[in-house]
Point group: C2
Chain length 583, copies 2
């Protein structure tokens, strides 16, 4: 066996991150956890300081339950480095998928396995005890601080396992599902581009299926035309990227392998708005539309899908109301998101009905629930209006209770106001002012005292700048990292709060509220071209942007393994083309 | 778009094998084929010599239908280079899978996509017109020279398409299916290792499923033990390789990620014979058994599986008849093959009942069917006995009709006998003789004339050396290449037959009969060790053999693409380990 050890030493050194001792510790702790579970007793991990010395100074670890392993959940897990938590992760997927590359998976530019990383590999390298459970949380019991979960496996091993976990802190990061807007037939007949790796793989198989089916000798010409009509619904960045990737796949690879049917293949992109990529700069939208026209991709803007039948998709032109029908072989749905049923249940339970996502405060805490946080696509930050708190702000600033504020009074709370109400900063930026003092000066023309009415009118338009954050990976990742940093310094910040002044009560907030920093957005357009909109309305389009896209995405991947794999996939595609085997 | 063309030129040159003109020709021909099909008219491809010169000398191409794209079918397609055939390939898989690496796929040593190559890519590079249909042949009508096929797609696109194809020559290479020996519960509860890529992927998912399920908090200790009991049935090279790969996967990768349950994982290998790898040299079997014992793999030899229940597998000790039960989490069935139902139907139709595969003659022609060939796992060569033909051989050799043979007479037919009846050569080899003349000399002690009785008794034991060929990739590939070479030189050999003398009728056979050349066999044993048995009973075991395995398999892969991918997979596994994401 000496040779075996040699290989072991030589080749495996690189991925043996956890030392043996650490492995043993993890094993002991998790073993204890299991025993507690099977006794159905609420139990918390125990941390013993210096237990080897026999002093036995043990304290209970706070139990953090994380639901979901998407961008938000994994970003939280990666950033958390305070070993005083006992973390339990519940998710139906035992891996993290780098979702921005999912459209690439649909056409074989990148392999699915190259963009996923097992959660256990991610958490294994940490100093925090993390237990992963492959299950779906189907009920949150906020009163008893408990979540109920069901194994996500549907095997012949004897039905689905159910269990519950108690928590001290719950982090809801379950993501969202595609929104069909109750369009009939979508659920049954369309593919969804948003959901996950399985969907992307199914789309890939389905594209090949269409080509194989169209190649059968018994299929009529009309049927061939129908089978090879690909319809993409939704002109957002994902839909546009998929349409572009599919076009490249057909033109560069499939047309060589299926010469007899290649001329039947058509791609149609349906968008309800007036332009595709309408969240981007006008220049990008125009460029994309022109490129798609040159490529022969049919872009139907201003059309709403009203029905997806078995073999036919019906759209209505928004302006004229005219209904059109298009026989199709494959429909890919890539528009809008809605809350998952488990989240809807929880929202009902806590009285948050009629919302599209869980409402949280600026610290990502779910409104009305202590110790429950929500982040990523399943949550939305319910920003506090300045006008709601205007009297309290005024009285807090007016220390001497004179009924008027002078500039000096005001300057003491100005930073807190800006931090607590991010819309203030946006408003000032829009007005090209440096700070609120300028706003007041602007109103009174000179440095004098202001009363509450003047103050109110100065800030009256500030709340118009409140915006919901987009449901993107960028937001989710930043929220996860933010929350983990809060957890990392929880004890410290309890003692020395670092947040803004509390205007409604006394003291300061423990933490600074979450602030999203936008780094820009890409829209790959196929043919080795991409568009990017960077902060400050900086727009970049073309081949160089595609290379920027390659480098940004390669650097953002979750591990060196995925980085190497994705880059070798890109290399493989350049050299050998995309694979069309139906597996 | 200049930049695009640049990329196109720079990166795609490597995989643009077909020139534009070739593409156009293929398109035209296949277009014609489709039109003929849709009219449901039997039609054959047409080849026009020098049609550009307007002379219009056209002759009908012979239509060859190949059923199956395994080793035999693809080897045939790769070797066929005579453009006077119009080839139609029907298979439920639009790719060729390099099956010897399937056990590696089950544990993530190699990715599935790395070992497959689309049939269309293989045939695209050829000078022969090949049409591929993704379908299953469900009926062969030998009388009307027609096969009936059904699309293998099970989508919502509107039921399964059916169609028929006429043929001039039919090549049956549909492979075999796993044989459950009618053991109850196997079909329902076991995974099959033999069949294909999908099965390998399902096994991979299932292994991860077992570990995830065992990690759930509500699962009792006993259940954990059951869930992580992996049972492999069949101690042949595939079963042994899978058990070894699974052991390495558990020890090297999963035990790090699932520290809490790793000690429950157990692998049991059940084999009906007295030893595993019993087709190999005794030294290899002993080494493998000892290695498995050291590794903690439980090897149960001399045990027959009698039932695979939902959660329990029952075995019977062959000698004592004692029945044992073992709770399991996953059973992988890797023993024996049987004919596919479509092949059974065809066998019934042509009166070949009670056989385990389609019987062919030494030229791979199905017995009793003109123009139908069968090769690979679905076929078996029904060798002609020397004793059946002994009188005819004698009379053919006895040119002067003297009733006795002298050595000179005999020497004229000796090569033909050896070629026609391969068992003769094997018998001589066993007896350490050079040729049949020695055999006669041996009998008569000196060079004299022999009569028919002496001749009979000299050859009486020759037929004992007849052996069925093993159902391996090696045999199938050699048969495919052999048959393609026959087709390549069909016309030439009609005129100038190159085969042995026909003893029953006049003249010579067109072709030399098929002869299998054994190049040896590998048995990977895990832990970077392998065993190999090469021709001449040369045995090699250990790490160096594993490297031999790597190099042989890398060189045997079907394309440069798969070669690069498999080698990069091996590199990835050395550096990053195997991935445990459940996708």
């Amino acid at each position: 066996m000496s040779g075996y050890s040699f290989y072991d030493r030589a080749f495996r050194a690189l991925n043996q991150y956890p030392s043996l001792s650490k492995l043993l510790v993890v094993f002991t702790v998790s073993g204890g956890g299991v025993a507690a579970y099977s006794g159905a007793q609420p139990s918390r991990g125990v941390v013993c300081a210096d237990s080897s010395a026999g002093r036995g100074e043990c304290e209970k670890k706070k139990k953090v339950v994380v639901l979901g392993t998407g961008w938000a959940g994994v970003s939280f897990l990666k950033t958390l480095n305070n070993p005083s938590y006992d973390v339990h992760v519940v998710s139906p997927h035992n891996y993290f998928a780098f979702t921005p590359l999912l459209p690439s998976v649909t056409c074989g530019n990148v392999e699915a396995r190259s963009i996923v990383e097992p959660i256990r590999s991610i958490t294994n390298k940490k100093n925090v005890d993390v237990q992963f459970r492959e299950a779906v949380c189907f009920k949150i019991d906020a009163d008893n601080k408990k979540v109920y979960c069901r194994s996500s496996q549907d095997t012949n091993l004897g039905g689905k396992e159910e269990f519950s976990i108690d928590y001290d802190y719950l982090i809801v990061a379950m993501g969202a599902k595609s929104n069909t807007f109750n369009t009939p037939g979508v659920e049954e007949n369309a593919h969804f581009l948003r959901l996950g790796v399985e969907d992307a793989l199914r789309i890939r198989q389905s594209v090949i299926d269409c080509f194989e089916r169209a190649s059968l000798p018994s299929v009529s010409e009309e049927e061939k035309k129908r089978i090879l009509q690909f319809v993409v619904v939704g002109g957002g960045p994902t839909g546009v990227e998929f349409a572009a990737e599919l076009h490249d796949f057909v033109v560069e690879d499939l047309s060589k392998l299926y010469p007899a049917v290649k001329d039947y293949a058509k791609i149609t992109l349906v968008e309800a708005g007036d332009h595709i990529l309408n969240m981007f700069d006008k220049r990008i939208a125009t460029f994309a539309e022109e490129k798609f026209q040159r490529d022969g991709i049919n872009v139907k803007t201003g059309s709403i899908v009203i029905k997806v039948a078995d073999k036919e998709i019906s759209t209505k032109v928004r302006e004229s109301g005219q209904v059109e029908s298009l026989p199709y072989g494959m429909v890919v749905w890539s528009t809008g998101i809605g809350p998952r049923p488990e989240v809807v249940d929880f929202m009902k339970q806590i009285g948050q009905t009629n919302r599209r996502a869980l409402a949280t405060d600026e610290w990502l805490r779910v409104e009305g629930c202590d110790d429950i946080y929500a982040l990523g696509d399943c949550a939305t930050i319910n920003q506090r209006r300045v006008m709601e708190d205007i009297a309290l702000i005024f009285s807090k600033a007016d220390k001497n209770k004179t009924g008027t504020l002078n500039i000096k009074d005001f300057q003491e709370v100005v930073d807190d106001i800006c931090e607590r109400y991010p819309q203030v900063e946006l408003y000032l930026k829009k007005k090209q002012m440096k700070n609120i003092v300028d706003l007041l000066k602007d109103l009174k023309k000179q440095s004098v005292e202001v009363d509450i009415e003047t103050f109110k009118s100065a800030l009256s338009e500030v709340d118009s700048q409140m915006k919901n954050l987009p449901a993107t990976a960028q937001v989710a990742a930043q929220q996860g990292a933010y929350l983990a940093n809060c957890f990392n310094r929880m004890e410290e910040c309890e003692k020395y709060p670092e947040g803004p002044l509390r205007f409604r009560t006394l003291g300061r907030h423990r933490f600074r509220p979450f602030r999203y920093k936008h780094f820009g957005q890409f829209a790959p357009l196929g043919g080795e071209q991409a568009a990017a909109q960077l902060p400050g309305d900086w727009v970049s389009i073309g081949h160089s942007t595609q290379w920027l896209w390659y480098s940004v995405y390669a650097s953002k991947l979750v591990s060196w393994r995925t980085r190497v794999l994705v880059m070798s996939d890109w290399g493989r595609r350049f050299i050998f083309g995309r694979d069309s085997s139906r597996i």
